[in-house]
């Protein structure tokens, strides 16, 4: 550029004033610093573990665990490996997170709408609920639900019972467990068929509505199909499901499905707590839809319910989804408080008992953190996809 002068040196700004060079140097330094810090940490850790004779490596995952776990979604007993305890804990974490997300979403939406209700008492009550629940630590609420509620339930021998089929006591809620008999496969196929039929019906109804403007009562007909077809199928296939009814033997009820109090307390606490936050998100989402939209919809003659369902909520969802995602993530992370009341989630089982029996803290903690990181990335990914799908319609 500056070819006027016959100097061979490159002129222009001195290299250390050139922003690009500076940026490069700065980044190189930052990267080097991070690598150095990481290297020092790893080096220290290895040296410390070496000098203290702590075993390393993931070999422990194959050793037999030797302890019992109260609740396992996959078959588990004490002779299985530590690796298995990882999966048991992980599935329990996922279970309570999933249950919590579903319940918190439903309750949160109800509360959010209640907050805007024209009924003064309902709106106030929703407000009081939200302000009380979200300003009290979750851990405290978990303790409350676990210890306060547990104390008030009867002992197994004085269980509350419903028609001799379901039992409630301080060991949990016992329900009959369906056991598949011969012909259950056919019944399952029939149920699947009913679901497919409803989906097809819905698509057809939408299409017809778009073409002719006539509304088909999809919901009612769909519900009828979903209830009647499996019921008829059940009779037609000769009642292929037997019920394993829990019965009192020795100390406890045995057989059937059990909802343990630890899971119930954690589920209730997580749902109630998160619902308070979701309610506020829903409320601000609904308020963000401009009044003109509601008025226009009313002017079209849509009743209140339809206005909410077809006009307000779809638009509000755009505002609601991003913060809702982070609430879901929070709930999943908060499920780790399970360890305080003995629900066998990943942190309690794997980062608790397994870590303690093997003493390999670094490996176990790394695995646990990796799980939460993956869950977090996965939920973010899903929500981003959804977000994109919703956002495109706007243009």
């Amino acid at each position: 550029m500056n070819s006027q002068q016959p100097v061979s040196k490159p002129s222009g700004p001195k290299p250390w004033y050139d922003p690009r060079v500076r940026a490069l140097v700065f980044q190189a330094l930052a990267l080097a610093a991070v690598f150095w810090a990481g290297w020092v940490l790893i080096d220290n850790t290895l040296a410390n573990m070496e000098s203290r004779g702590i075993s390393t490596g993931f070999g422990f995952l194959d050793q037999s665990a030797g302890f019992g776990i109260i609740m396992h979604l996959i078959p588990y007993d004490a002779t299985m490996s530590y690796g298995r305890t990882f999966w048991v804990g992980l599935l329990n974490t996922l279970l309570v997170s999933f249950l919590g997300i579903v319940a918190a979403t439903i309750l949160g939406f109800l509360l959010g709408v209640a907050r805007l209700s024209s009924n003064w008492l309902v709106a106030r009550l929703a407000l009081v609920y939200i302000e009380v629940i979200r300003n009290i630590p979750l851990l405290l609420q978990i303790f409350f639900w676990y210890f306060a509620v547990l104390r008030n339930l009867p002992a197994p021998r004085q269980s509350l019972e419903l028609a001799g089929l379901a039992f409630l006591n301080n060991r949990g809620l016992y329900l009959p467990d369906p056991v598949a008999q011969e012909g259950a496969g056919a019944l399952f196929a029939i149920c699947l068929l009913a679901v497919v039929a409803v989906v097809v019906l819905r698509i057809w109804a939408k299409r017809r509505q778009r073409a002719t403007g006539r509304i088909f009562p999809t919901f009612r007909v769909g519900l009828a199909i979903l209830v009647l077809v499996p019921a008829l199928g059940y009779l037609a296939t000769g009642a292929p499901i037997a019920w394993d009814v829990p019965e009192l033997r020795g100390f406890n009820y045995r057989g059937g499905l059990t909802l343990i109090p630890e899971l119930a307390a954690l589920w209730v606490a997580l749902s109630l707590y998160t619902a308070a936050f979701i309610a506020e998100i829903v409320r601000s989402g609904i308020l963000s839809v401009s009044k003109g939209q509601t008025e226009a919809s009313k002017a079209l003659g849509l009743p209140n319910g339809l206005t909410l369902r077809l006009v307000v909520i779809p638009q509000a969802m755009r505002v609601i989804i991003p913060p809702l995602t982070s609430q879901y993530l929070n709930l999943t992370k908060n499920s780790s408080l399970a360890t305080a009341i003995g629900y066998p989630d990943l942190v309690a089982v794997f980062m608790g008992t397994t870590l303690n029996q093997t003493g390999q803290a670094v490996e176990v903690v790394a695995m646990t953190m990796a799980v939460y990181l993956s869950i977090s990335l996965f939920i973010s990914l899903l929500m981003n996809l959804y977000n994109r799908a919703v956002a495109i319609k706007e243009r």
């Binding site: 940026a23 700065f26 980044q27 930052a30 990267l31 991070v34 940490l41 220290n44 850790t45 040296a47 410390n48 573990m49 000098s51 024209s118 009924n119 003064w120 008492l121 309902v122 009550l125 302000e131 009380v132 979200r134 300003n135 009290i136 630590p137 979750l138 851990l139 405290l140 303790f143 409350f144 210890f147 306060a148 993530l329 992370k333 908060n334 780790s336 408080l337 360890t339 305080a340 942190v347 980062m351 803290a361 670094v362 903690v365 646990t368 953190m369 939460y372 990181l373 869950i375 977090s376 990335l377």
Partner: protein, 361 residues
């Protein structure tokens, strides 16, 4: 004010009308009102009975709690432990001074007309931590040192929350700037840092800080348990802080960045003098909200064996001398947290409303 401006008509309803409009407007509203009303009456009465009317407030010992209601006597007698933990009696005035200074710095923030309240606030952010650093651990100016293992109760809860928020602020600012940096590597590093910390539960962070941090450090280097917990909380919190501040940075119009560049300011001056002051003002409500979240999360330190207010209560409710005081203990802690959090959240909502009218473009 022109005389032609008409005031809006006063819309005051007679009580009967109000009730009809707000409670019994339609048949399902009526039903709802009745159902909710019935629920309230049947649940509130016994609760108040237990809380206040049937409760025991004073007395000499466990034997005096005979009524059907709550035994607040228990809280009354253990209050010192719940507030100060194991902090020595003779030195508790130091903690009291800190409580007073804390109130002095932040109560004026709730009163709009208070003269010079900004200065009180600034003192709260700078001078107060310094005072705390001198007063609470002691060892300066002839103050008797009090080891951090003796701290506990409400005081420890406040220390953890306060240190967490103050220390995470500058780190959060740097991370937020880094995440919006034009240098890909810096941006990448910041994103990774923020997302990793935000993804993991606080329990795992605390656990790592409390028992594994010493493994990472060279032999012979060691901190106290509380300090390690504080480091963990601060790093975790700074990731959340960074996201809040990033929101503020994004809300600043591009013109401000360009104008600052046009003045020939370098990066740090551009950020420090033009962008950050505006951005931080915008996100004060957000910062206050993260503070509330952190304040509630401090209860988790009981899992690593620190006696915060919940830990202190939990360790005393199993005292065999007192029968079944667990509920009283938990209600007391819940009330403490609720008062703090509700007060602060009111403040942040107020602020939000005020900033909203003042700043929106």
């Amino acid at each position: 004010m022109g005389g032609s401006v008409m005031k809006p008509p006063v819309s005051r309803l007679a009580p009967v009308q109000w009730i009809r409009q707000n409670l019994f407007s339609t048949w399902y509203n009526t039903l709802l009102t009745l159902a909710v009303g019935w629920l309230l009456v049947t649940s509130v009465v016994p609760v108040f009975d237990w809380l206040i009317f049937g409760a025991t407030f004073s007395g000499d010992g466990p034997g005096d709690c005979v009524g059907k209601g709550a035994c607040w006597l228990f809280i009354n007698q253990r209050l010192n432990f719940f507030i100060y933990g194991f902090y020595p009696d003779a030195e508790q005035w130091r903690v009291d001074i800190m409580f007073a200074l804390l109130a002095l710095s932040f109560v004026p923030q709730f009163i709009d007309r208070f003269p010079g309240r900004t200065w009180f606030g600034l003192f709260g952010l700078t001078g107060l931590p310094l005072c705390g650093y001198i007063l609470i651990p002691g060892g300066w100016f002839g103050l008797e040192p009090v080891d951090s293992s003796k701290w506990g109760g409400l005081m420890l809860t406040l220390v953890i929350a306060y240190v967490g928020i103050i220390a995470s602020l500058p780190i959060g600012v740097l991370l937020a700037l880094g995440r919006r940096s034009e240098m890909p590597i810096i941006r990448g590093l910041c994103i990774v840092f923020i997302e990793v910390w935000r993804a993991v539960p606080l329990i795992t962070v605390l656990f790592m800080a409390s028992v594994m941090l010493p493994l990472f450090l060279p032999e012979g280097m060691n901190f106290e348990k509380l300090l390690r917990a504080l480091i963990g909380i601060t790093l975790w919190q700074s990731a959340y802080m960074a996201e809040v501040i990033r929101g503020g940075l994004q809300a600043i119009p591009r013109g401000q960045y360009e104008a600052a560049s046009a003045l020939g300011l370098g990066y740090w001056r551009r950020m420090g003098l033009v962008i950050l002051p505006q951005a931080l003002k915008l996100v004060i409500p957000g910062i206050v909200n993260t503070f509330i979240a952190l304040f509630k999360d401090t209860t988790l330190v009981l899992i690593i064996g620190l006696f915060d207010v919940l830990g202190a209560v939990q360790s005393t409710v199993t005292d065999p001398a007192w029968q079944n005081v667990a509920t009283e203990g938990y209600v007391f802690v819940a009330f403490c947290f609720w008062v703090f959090c509700f007060g602060i959240s009111r403040y942040s909502q107020n602020l939000e409303r005020k900033l909203d009218t003042g700043h929106k473009t």
